[in-house]
Symmetry: C2
DNA sequence: ACTAAATAGTGGACTTTGTCCACTAAGTAT
DNA sequence: ATACTTAGTGGACAAAGTCCACTATTTAGT
């Protein structure tokens, strides 16, 4: 009982710590021409190859009208394209255009480099430990 | 070189994973009568006991005019109070009122309970491991 | 097949959140 | 005394996100 209470405090301390890290990393993207949500949307399309808006919605836990506007903007900028779904006439399948892929890869590379900077001073040993801790946390929290 | 590349991808996977967790936890606070920034502001005042606006600003990496408005709102709601600083006539020292402390503690307790829910299904052993991993990550990333 | 309910997506109207800038007042340095 | 910096406020605006109503399909129940 008491251990749990202490654990909760320590988890919350980590959450604050990691919120700051993520905020720092995100700040970088905010200086790009695209918003966080736009980049995340591109990411979802990129990894899904060809997805429905509804899939992005659930993946991002985002409002459908908000997403609709994001997709509209990305379409207008020529970064994504929609083709009507054959299974469902209400839906379309969204994919990155060549240009969209190019833009996404550039942003993605910048994010990689940022992480690179974060870990550049770590020894290979420490880096390996870091990754192991992260994977362990995911495993523990995923199976609940 | 190559290991680093893989590590970067794994760190980014963790970041996405943990961003979702934090988002989930924050969603809860968003249903409260206070915004995330307001709660975070109260937290800073609570832990600092009596702080200057500029301290909150740097702690939260927040725009000063934005903070000014948040403080104004919290003052109007009777949650915080300002007393002129004796060292610097431009600044004031901010602290939680009795009411503010009450509100903050309620929110804080709700956050605790939320974490509780997140870990309720974990064995004491797993919970201990989780906390250890979190602390290890902080140590590794802090000393860089 | 026929109606009712659910789902996919769009757009209007709005609120919340956050930014940029200019400004006052006080402190700091030369 | 003068210039520079710092603390905080407020106007004006932009960006982000929410809520609701609506159309067009698809799905389920009878």
């Amino acid at each position: 009982m008491k251990d749990t209470k202490i654990a909760v405090q320590e988890i919350r301390a980590f959450n604050r710590f990691y919120t700051d890290i993520i905020g720092l990393l995100d700040a970088h993207l905010l200086n790009s021409a695209y918003s966080l949500s736009e980049v995340r949307t591109m990411y979802e399309i990129y990894t899904g190859k060809s997805v429905q808006a509804s899939q992005i919605m659930t993946a991002m836990h985002i409002d459908k009208s908000y997403l609709s506007r994001i997709l509209k903007k990305l379409t207008q900028e020529g970064l994504i394209s929609k083709t009507p779904s054959e299974e469902d006439a209400r839906a379309s399948l969204i994919s990155l255009t060549e240009e969209g892929l190019k833009v996404f890869k550039t942003l993605n590379k910048a994010s990689d480099e940022q992480i690179d900077g974060l870990i550049s001073s770590l020894s290979p040993r420490k880096l390996e430990q870091l990754v192991n801790h992260m994977q362990a946390i995911q495993e523990i929290l995923q199976h609940k």
